[in-house]
């Protein structure tokens, strides 16, 4: 293949657009930006918490007065006296004490029966649908990736913790950044300059080579602003009991991710969207203990993070959204577990949230093929997050979706 035809092909197919669309940022630009233009106080910050594996919604928000709940789940139901009561019918999983306390402070919105039309019970398809935010047109980009593309270019705008970028933050031409736990260590000195030459976009790049060059460019720009911050101590949560000088609440990977997020937010990172995650919710067998442990981890990590942030000027600006790719089958299986299901609750947490229940609780007597019916479309929540938290018109990002919930 001669280079001319190759270049022509790339131009015709639009595959060269990554390099063309993303202007080069120098280290100086970014370092200057982080100090000179920290995120303005009062700018809302979104933290997406993804629970991978399909969290069992019925054992998260438990309908503890419904006789059908007990008859359909004889092995894995929670007794009324065990749950953390939210009202006369619903209670939280006993492990979620931290979130219960935030609920009591009216900082938690629980949207019930959330899903999308024609639910898919495949982990991968369903998570792809949730993260793309496009259940009908099935876009390859993520809804927050499309939001990134609607904003001015800034590699620090949306950051995911961990080395693999979730589809959530992937755009068509530009994406969010990934940040490994422990921060970034990059080459220094003259070799760094030679390394950075590899980050230059060239017209002969195909889409993937351009993405490889971009990853190098982002590494150098993000690391220069992020690395010093990661060396600082995390904000202290002084209203939690401490053990040996550290905050109690257990150490988990989710807590570690949120620790890094807390430091960077406190330092004024111009980041408006963060993505953290926890896996392991695919509880086909021996669910009760496994799920309670995971929900306990989520609850403790989020409430600890909230306490940490309360002491900073950013505490009031943070909104957390917790979701999973689907709920689970209402009827338990023989392995003290549950199989893949449909609708589940979504949690919105923060000072800006109007606490309480939203959406109808799916009925246990009116199941669709043994599964809960969807009472709220997740795009209603995405639209509210886009418009009321990220201050961005939702319709374009959500490919024409028009309705939204009132949670803020």
């Amino acid at each position: 293949m001669d280079t001319l035809s190759r270049r022509k092909f790339l131009q015709l197919s639009g595959a060269a657009a990554v390099g063309a669309a993303a202007p080069l940022l120098t280290m100086e630009d970014i370092a200057h930006a982080a100090q000179a233009r920290p995120l303005p106080l009062g700018t809302p910050i979104l933290i997406m918490v993804t629970l991978y594996g399909g969290n069992d919604g019925l054992n998260t928000v438990v309908p503890f007065t419904d006789p059908l709940y007990f008859s359909m789940r004889p092995d894995i139901s929670y007794a009324p006296e065990k749950v953390l009561k939210l009202d006369e019918q619903l209670g939280l999983n006993p492990a979620m004490t931290g979130i219960k306390s935030l609920w009591d402070q009216k900082k938690v919105a629980i949207v019930r029966g959330v899903g999308y039309p024609k639910p898919d019970r495949s982990h991968f398809t369903s998570m792809a649908i949730w993260q793309s935010g496009a259940p009908v047109s099935r876009l390859n980009s993520g809804w927050l990736g499309r939001w990134v593309e609607s904003q001015a270019v800034d590699p620090m705008l949306a950051i995911s913790l961990g080395s693999v970028l979730p589809p959530l933050l992937a755009g068509e031409k530009r994406s969010g950044s990934a940040l490994p736990l422990g921060g970034l260590v990059i080459p220094t000195g003259t070799f760094a300059k030679d390394c950075q030459k590899l980050a230059q976009a060239v017209s002969t790049d195909n889409k993937l080579m351009a993405a490889a060059a971009t990853s190098m460019r982002t590494l150098f720009s993000v690391s220069n602003t992020v690395t010093p911050v990661l060396k600082m101590p995390a904000p202290v949560a002084d209203d939690l009991p401490t053990v040996n000088g550290g905050n109690a609440g257990g150490d988990s990977n989710l807590a570690q991710q949120l620790d890094v997020v807390a430091k960077l937010i406190a330092a004024g990172s111009p980041t408006r969207v963060w993505s953290v995650s926890l896996g392991g919710f695919d509880t086909h067998a021996n669910e009760a203990n496994a799920q309670a442990e995971l929900l306990g981890t989520v609850s403790a990590a989020l409430s600890r993070f909230t306490s940490q942030m309360k002491n900073t000027s950013r505490g009031k600006d943070i909104v957390m959204m917790v979701y999973s790719e689907f709920g689970r089958r209402v009827k338990g299986n023989a392995s003290q577990g549950t199989d893949h299901g449909t609708a589940g609750p979504v949690f919105l947490i923060g000072d800006r949230v109007k606490g309480g229940f939203y959406g109808d609780q799916p009925s246990l007597s009116n199941l669709v093929n043994g599964d809960l019916s969807v009472t709220t479309d997740f795009r209603d929540i995405y639209a509210a997050v886009l418009e009321d938290v990220l201050k961005t018109p939702a319709e374009k990002v959500l490919t024409g979706w028009k309705s939204k919930g009132q949670y803020f």
């Binding site: 991968f124 961990g162 994406s175 950044s177 002969t204 790049d205 080579m209 896996g279 299986n333 199989d339």
Partner: protein, 432 residues
């Protein structure tokens, strides 16, 4: 540019793990047809693979009771096995003279993605790996049948919990969605009926031995994809494999992992027909068709293991002999791809997922660590102003861009840095 340089580069990087020193240049001289025949014909004896000793992975038996000294010994032995297993396989990938068998076994591991974490015993996973190698280029129906009797897969997907009294759908769903048919090519009723057919299996975890317990088996009629009979696990699996959609799905998966995950398999293609008898080697040959190999739009990012093995083969490094092997596994972990530890039953992600700023950083460090342990005399013997062109051939790169040439030019006097930038360049990280 030489004739068929793109096709030959793709044959090396996608149907193997990249060229060893001098191989690519020799292949260009031999031409496309001879190279294809050589790379796709598995020799009877592979002396490179034969020098990798089988690992000492044994059935450690049931975990001893808490607080006994036997438990400590058990844990030490298990930890050693869990570490030895991936190193043994990485050695096979790096040292095999003919790479195709390990390359295909690696593909199938990502296809029937089973993680050691839940199994918590190395032996069943080792057995599964041998099964996948045995059928890697064999018959897909026989492979599927063998996998129904694979203890690691059965345990991973709760097969032992699936009984007539109360089915567990995990294995049935993934068998249809991820292993044989593909999503949306069956109904939810089919999943439930298939899970009934798959009842009766029990797994002995330390050994991975699968037994059949007739009392737990649902012997009634099941209706799966329109056919009604008293299906059991094996006959139901054969029924799935016989579907036209199965040829379509496996063709799509081969396309996705070897050709492009960006552009879908064209509806007019020769792959499905080549797979009529479910002979995997025929599908591989159809996939290496010159029209596909010569289409410039099918680039693909090398997943971390493939990138590492490519570097190891070129630098003649033995993975288990690196200092230290634990450090090697830690680098692969940072890049998010360790053999026997896929993130979930769907296997590893592709393309842009491997191109985060975090992985760029880890790759630079990993490259420096590998190069420090390699013999660079051959590169050092080349005159500095000829090194970039020479490396392009040695590494089997289609063409370094002007950007990369500029970067390499700055360090051409220092072989270690030159090589480090070359293997971290977009043109090496991505198979053009």
């Amino acid at each position: 540019m030489e004739t068929n340089r793109l096709e030959i580069a793709r044959l090396y990087h996608r149907f193997g793990f990249g060229p060893r020193p001098g191989e690519f240049k020799a292949a260009l001289a031999n031409g496309l047809s001879a190279t294809k025949t050589a790379l796709l014909s598995v020799p009877a004896v592979d002396s490179g693979a034969a020098q990798v000793a089988e690992p000492n992975i044994t059935n450690l038996g049931t975990r001893p009771d808490q607080k006994t000294s036997a438990l400590i010994e058990f844990n030490i032995a298990l930890r050693q096995q869990v570490k030895d297993l991936p190193l043994w396989w990485l050695d096979r990938m790096a040292l095999s003279d003919h790479a195709l068998t390990e390359r295909m076994t690696w593909f199938w591991h990502g296809h029937w993605a089973t993680a050691i974490g839940k199994i918590n015993h190395a032996y069943p996973i080792y057995v599964q790996n041998q099964t996948l190698r045995k059928y890697a280029l064999g018959n897909f129906g026989e492979m599927t049948s063998a996998m129904i009797n694979d203890g690691a897969l059965q345990f991973w997907l709760d097969g032992g919990e699936n009984t007539a009294k109360s089915p567990n759908e995990n294995l049935a769903r993934e068998l249809m969605e991820l292993f044989v048919l593909g999503v949306n090519r069956y109904t939810e009723t089919d999943v439930r009926e298939l899970s009934r057919a798959l009842t009766g299996y029990q797994i002995e975890r330390p050994s991975g031995k699968v037994t059949f317990n007739a009392k737990r088996y649902d012997s009634n009629i099941k209706t799966i994809l329109g056919s009604s009979t008293t299906f059991n696990g094996i006959s139901a699996a054969a029924h799935l494999v016989a579907q036209k959609d199965s040829a379509k799905f496996i063709s799509e998966r081969f396309w996705f992992r070897f050709i492009s995950s960006q552009i879908e398999l064209p509806s007019e293609n020769s792959l499905e027909k080549s797979f009529e008898t479910r002979d995997i080697s025929k599908l591989v040959v159809a996939l290496a068709d010159s029209q596909i190999l010569s289409n410039p739009s099918y680039s693909i990012v090398k997943p971390p293991v493939e990138w590492f093995i490519g570097v190891a083969r070129y630098l003649k490094l033995t993975p288990s002999a690196l200092k230290t092997p634990g450090q090697l596994l830690s680098y692969l972990d940072k890049l998010a791809q360790v053999p026997f530890n896929p993130p979930n039953v769907g296997g590893w992600p592709t393309d842009e997922s491997w191109l985060s700023s975090a992985s760029a950083q880890s790759r630079i460090q990993f490259a420096a660590w590998l190069i420090k342990q390699a013999d660079l005399t051959a590169l050092a013997a080349i005159a500095p102003n000829k090194r970039i062109a020479w490396l392009q051939d040695e590494l089997g790169v289609l063409s370094f861009s002007t950007r990369t040439r500029l970067a390499l030019n700055g360090v051409k006097g220092t072989p270690a840095q030159l090589l480090q930038l070359a293997i971290c360049s977009p043109e090496y990280v991505v198979s053009a």
